[in-house]
Symmetry: C2
Subunit: 190 residues, 2 copies
């Protein structure tokens, strides 16, 4: 997605060889107009997927997931939680997610009421790196007996192998901007 | 907002005397069409506020904040974080937030790059209860030398006193649905 790549080149910051800082428009401060265009692009790409629900994980995947759900005709959007609120009383599916950057193990969870066997789930997230978060979300979908019809990432860090890992599991992976490397602060696309 | 009150009566669940479960459409599964209408209503209410930025806190305030920013002419939206990601390298404003329901103390933070002295900030959140989260966000705005031009909550639990607390501090508070009590599972509006 050229608009997104141009924006990453303009406002993104490469730090070391691993980190892409895009928090001025994607995952801390949010450019709402760009987010809408991201949603429209995912809707175009996954138009034939048969998705009935969009799934993401809190927090920074939410804007793109909302925009995608809207552009696909106001599908219900569900965001997996990292903590169990006191309203989650109907039972939930849970899966562990390891964070390579933070070195922590967390749990993602979705209420059993909002993932059903008949759901065809499109997973949307802001970043695809090692694929750990995606694997956790896919586990929730599997537990519900639902089907994942695709996975969309706004930004992919190709060298961390997440896309390959998900594709080897049989999933369709689409990233709007695929970064191949960061060298001396320069962000290079595939 | 009648549409919202009707939806709360239809799909919301009152638990005990304190908890309103609206996670089928507001803060776990999200009805994107309703969220857009919520954003349009906040945009109408705060049309003359002069807001230049919308602020919320992750995670469940994000959909309404995005929709509001969008309806106000694509204002930048910023969500405060509860953890410091490895991309938050420019320094941040932080404030403590006590959770009455979870009994925990957390920290909300915003990068200094995304709250500036010239910002006129509209704060949007999904729930206003005791006002603790709002007080934390207001502290971030104060630290930046910015001005808060209003606070909007999708749902207010009036008996927990948050609106009174914020109004006594001089802020304009607008809630789209004000719940006065929960009795025997019945949700009553003010």
């Amino acid at each position: 997605m050229k608009l997104l790549e141009d924006r990453i080149l303009k406002d993104g910051v490469g730090i070391g060889t691993e980190i892409v800082k895009v928090d001025s428009f994607l995952n801390h401060q949010v450019d709402v107009e760009l987010t809408d265009k991201i949603g429209e692009e995912f809707a175009r790409i996954f138009a034939e997927s048969g998705a009935t629900k969009v799934l993401t994980v809190e927090a920074s995947g939410i804007p793109a997931a909302v925009a995608t759900a809207r552009a696909m005709g106001n599908l219900p959007m569900v965001f997996a939680k990292k903590a169990a609120p006191n309203t989650m009383v109907d039972g939930s599916y849970t899966a562990p997610v390891k964070s390579f950057t933070k070195g922590t193990l967390s749990t993602v969870r979705v209420s059993k009421s909002y993932l059903k066997a008949e759901d065809k789930v499109l997973i949307i997230d802001d970043f695809l790196a090692t694929g750990e978060a995606a694997i956790g979300l896919l586990d929730l979908v599997r537990q519900a007996g639902a089907k994942c019809v695709g996975y969309g990432a706004v930004v992919e860090k190709a060298w961390q192998g997440g896309a390959k890992r998900l594709e080897e599991l049989g999933y369709r992976v689409e990233s709007l901007a695929v970064i191949s490397s960061i060298v001396d602060g320069n962000i290079n696309f595939k």
